[in-house]
Symmetry: C2
Subunit: 253 residues, 2 copies
């Protein structure tokens, strides 16, 4: 899986260019050529191709990614059964609590946000659909890790590492393992400012009847509102309720 099998360099280059366009928020040929350390003509060829297939647009000597990606992105999300089913439940939980509620799944060892629902008092974060996060430093991630086979957890930690995001981030494997044990016992996971200072989250896993985890839902809020009974029981209960509804709808449809 990590071994570089026979592979298509041109595809890598094209996608590198697309990613650079995102990173630079639009760019010209020369800029990309410098950024990626490729000859201008190569960059130009790829951009021509991407434009020809209508994946990239050009306005006034500035290239950018086109809306074909929107179509693909929407498809990549909607093909996941969990998205359709969880969306309305998450919406109502957000409205009910006023907070920010998220749906995410694991892909390539990272958590990917599928959908975010904002209640009236929801915090404003950098989170957005499609965003990737490390699993070890989020409630979502810990909820997912806790219900994964132990070997897969090891594998993920090996490849992704456990970088510190805040002072509170768990960076020790054994500590994380203990935390995951606790998550399994409780049935939900906490994030106490482990990814962002001032932010606390609670997350519940979504599993199949066979106890295979397919994703997680979480609720995020400022430390000020996330404490006491609300943080200890009310929100966890609400999340587990919602998770249960989603699980039921997943199995019977």
């Amino acid at each position: 899986m990590d071994t570089p099998n026979p592979t298509v360099q041109a595809t890598r280059t094209s996608l590198d260019i697309v990613e650079a366009l995102v990173r630079l928020d639009g760019a010209g040929v020369t800029e990309l050529s410098n950024e990626l350390d490729l000859p201008k003509s190569t960059v130009h060829n790829h951009l021509n191709t991407l434009r020809d297939v209508e994946y990239v647009v050009k306005h006034d000597e500035v290239y950018n990614v086109g809306l074909r990606f929107l179509k693909l992105g929407e498809y990549s999300r909607s093909r996941l059964k969990i998205y359709d089913i969880a969306k309305p439940e998450i919406d109502s939980l957000a409205e009910q609590t006023g907070e920010l509620v998220n749906l995410s799944v694991e892909e390539y060892g990272r958590g990917v946000y599928l959908y975010l629902a904002r209640g009236d008092d929801a915090v404003h974060l950098d989170t957005h659909a499609g965003m990737q996060v490390h699993l070890h430093c989020t409630a979502l991630g810990k909820a997912i890790l806790a219900y994964m086979p132990s070997e897969r957890v090891t594998e993920i930690l090996d490849t992704m590492g456990m970088p510190a995001r805040t002072e509170q981030t768990i960076t020790d494997r054994d500590a994380l393992r203990e935390e995951l044990d606790a998550v399994r016992e409780r049935g939900y996971a906490y994030d106490r400012q482990e990814r962002l200072d001032g932010l606390r989250c609670v997350a519940a896993p979504i599993t199949t009847p066979e106890q295979e985890v397919v994703g997680a839902i979480s609720l995020s809020g400022p430390t000020s509102r996330m404490q006491g009974e609300r943080f200890d029981t009310d929100i966890p209960d609400a999340l587990r309720d919602t998770a249960n509804v989603i699980e039921l709808n997943m199995t019977y449809s």
Copy 2:
């Protein structure tokens, strides 16, 4: 623009494979090989590459597009200023009218839906974010075409044609030109079952102070509810109001 300049074949192939994965809703190597008329090993190489860069996932011998596209798609949309600004206005218009309200822009001669807001009574259509439609058969499209330079309209009609979608679709150029004149006079466009039977839409363009069109908003509903004063004045007025708010926010921000 249509001339096949020096171009990267491998990139085309990779994207062909991705599109085939969407079309087939997930597929195996052999299936793709048949669908695209390519050697199995070539398909396999591309899939390996796409998997290595984490754009494609594989579950049980079935390949599918991954969530990296979600990230790109969300970016491709959110980088358009009109999206951020129009979204809340459209949400409130949908809530207020109970119908389906859409935001779209033109790209490569087609209309692309950026966002859809559903009111309580909204019709259930095939429309989804990222979907592409012909401009000549939708209210959205006609609102956009009406405010485009005439040569660009000709160019688009030349490359895209004017296929009939229903009995009502305008398939004659002169008739369309007249319709576009009427749109400019009224300030909004109609679709009277021209794309889908039983569906009527009203659309208003979003323009810059220099009268350059940057997109359009539309409202769709069943013919039963889209008639009389509501269809003739109420909804058009509401759309123009919303469009004006969006235009103002676009210029002053």
